[in-house]
Amino acid sequence: MPTGLFGLNPWLDGVIRLLIIVGLMTVVAMGLIYIERKVLGRFHARIGPQRTGPFGLLQSVADALKLVGKEDLRPRNADPWTFEFGPYLVFIPIFLGFVVSPFMAGFTVRVLDLGILYFVAVSSVSIVGWVMAGWGSDNRYAMIGGMRAAAQAISYELPFVLSLLSVSMLAGTLNINEIVEAQTSVPNIVWQPLAFIIFFIAALAELNRPPFDIPVGESEVVGGPFVEYSGIRWSMFFLGEYASLFIMSILISALFLGGYEWPFGTQLGIGWQLVLTVIKASMLIFLIIWVRASVPRLRIDQLMGYAWKILLPLSLLQVLVNGFVLVYDLPKLLLTAAGLGGVFLLVWLTEHAITRPRESRATAAATAATLQSEAAS
């Protein structure tokens, strides 16, 4: 039994910790919504929210109040259980992921030896919620969205986990805090640039952020699984999305950018560690918003092809290289070289995959003609 936070009964202590998590995450998610709107506004050559409170700071509060006040509608033909419980299954796993997120040395809700495994396991549960929401809504857009979400999550989970694996191979542990502490002198991104990029891409897909926002694709399936939700249930999806954005950025910064350790984490103490974590996470969040403002959405087959044909082989390759270097005790700089080579390979493959359609324009026309005549007959 761990000692309680305030020397209390462990059960009471657990409840207090949970309340802190839920409160903190809600506030963080609301803050992120404000930040995203403000930053996106700048990218869009406009100002963003500014009327509610100073600099529009209260916009998220106003939105939250509005959503709470809205009627919680359920379509008549919707499956009551799956429809009503879908949002919880999206929401709760994301909050559970918070348990292992490292902010400072000694300030993790629970340091787990299998932290990475726990995080991966918990975060993939939320996909069940997406499918439930999509299926239970009795709406075809929602169903297509739910199915897309499932397909996407299954494909991107693999490069996601494999690039996590390559980091934990270096540190020799699955404990997130120990991985962070192994980066006191050099952050992992130096040794594993390829794994970092693959992980970042896969994280975008996990978060359903553009260019992988296919399940919610506003211009195609009009919000996907959320299409029938309103009020508080809809806001749970929304909060979940931003909470997971936050947790994912914390995780990336912990695993690849040195988290609270690099630079001078141990020397300068707790306050500096928190600053480090927050700065790194904010940089990543800004990057993710930037990506959102500038790229179109991929198509479902391009998305799947990219995961299976490019990301997965490359992340396997990374694991293999790591294995060789570690087993034969080769110089670590080899890892950097191999990683950079992998990055160039990734860029080249991506470019190649994109330029290929140019040659197959005639083929596409022929296929369309065949289908056309089939439909006519």
């Binding site: 996106l40 990218f43 869009h44 050559a45 406009r46 075809r140 857009y141 297509i144 897309r148 553009p210 260019p211 926002d213 296919i214 694709g217 506003e218 211009s219 195609e220 399936v221 009009v222 959102r292 403002a293 500038s294 790229v295 179109p296 959405r297 991929l298 198509r299 479902i300 087959d301 391009q302 991506t350 470019e351 995959a353 994109i354 330029t355 359609p357 140019r358 197959s360 324009r361 596409a364 026309a365 296929t367 369309a368 065949t370 289908l371 056309q372 439909a375």
Partner: protein, 374 residues
Amino acid sequence: MVIESAHEFETQDLLLNVGPQHPSTHGVFRMVMQVDGEVVRDIIPYIGYLHRGAEKLCETMDYRQGIGFMDRTEYLAAMNAELSYVMAVEKLAELEVPDRAQWIRMILVELNRLSSHLMFMGAFGIDVGVFGTPFIYAWREREAIIDLFEEISGDRMMYAYLRPGGLAWDVPANFVPRCREVLTAVRQGIADFDGLLTKNEIFIARTQGIGIVSAADAIDFGMSGPSIRASGVPLDVRREEPYLKYDEIKWDVITATEGDVYARYLCRLAEMRESVKIVEQCLDRLQPGPIMPEKMPRMLRTPPGEVYIRTEAPRGEFGIYMVSKGGNRPYRLKVRSACLSNLQALKHMSVGLYVADAIIVLGSIDIVLSEVDR
């Protein structure tokens, strides 16, 4: 459980109703897609949600009142629609339009083509899935053009500025410098789009090789405008039957050969550059002078006759067929809608593609529902 027949595992295509309330149908277009997983097997388009009987209404109005209906028929390129209408009336009434009015008309329709294509760029960016950025970039330059139109005509959308015979009133004194300002902004905007979309890898991956329509098919469907020029048919009414002063200035007909979504996008982008060139030349040649014929009757009456006038609107050939039996109102008016003809190719282009592609194919033919339904 024992499976009694194979019937229980029969699969069925899903019917997906897109529109009339859907973010990507550009108004109130509705299509029922038959989808097999993510692949579109069939599309049934439904139109008519925005039918107001504008053509019939024009028959009850005198010639000047009809101009307002043309604005509402093609609200994204109102000047171009007005131009077809007033040209038809002028031909019936045998009116000579003064030079200055012709140059100003040309400037206005080309500026409106720019604003309409900017609208396309923005909306298409959203169809492809960029969250808002191209839309608001496009809006920025479009706003400049619309501000200029407001200074000229007093309205931001329903200009009603052209008149049979010329213009309602002369342009403001600072018209030429203001136009040049707007052109500078638009040129910058076009460059922004080049950076944001044209070279964007995902954009290329999404738009190249899909929604192909061959030159022969495009002609069969009666397509026109950038949509047919992207298939390699150099059909441009401004070149085929020059009206206004298009034969006096230098400009190119933009064509592409591929006929896919990307080619249609590039055609529009290149056409915007041509429009900028045209407006610049017009501004150089603009001379002071009258804007209406000297002898205009208070109430315009036309001799009996019939006429078909077509002009190159941003979306293609916008034609007016007008019959007069004498008097101050048309006996019959029919609008030849470019969007309606272009829309015919939708099924041909999108069957066999993914749902997401069908959406951008629809976006790439750039329909305005009020013109389709009238």
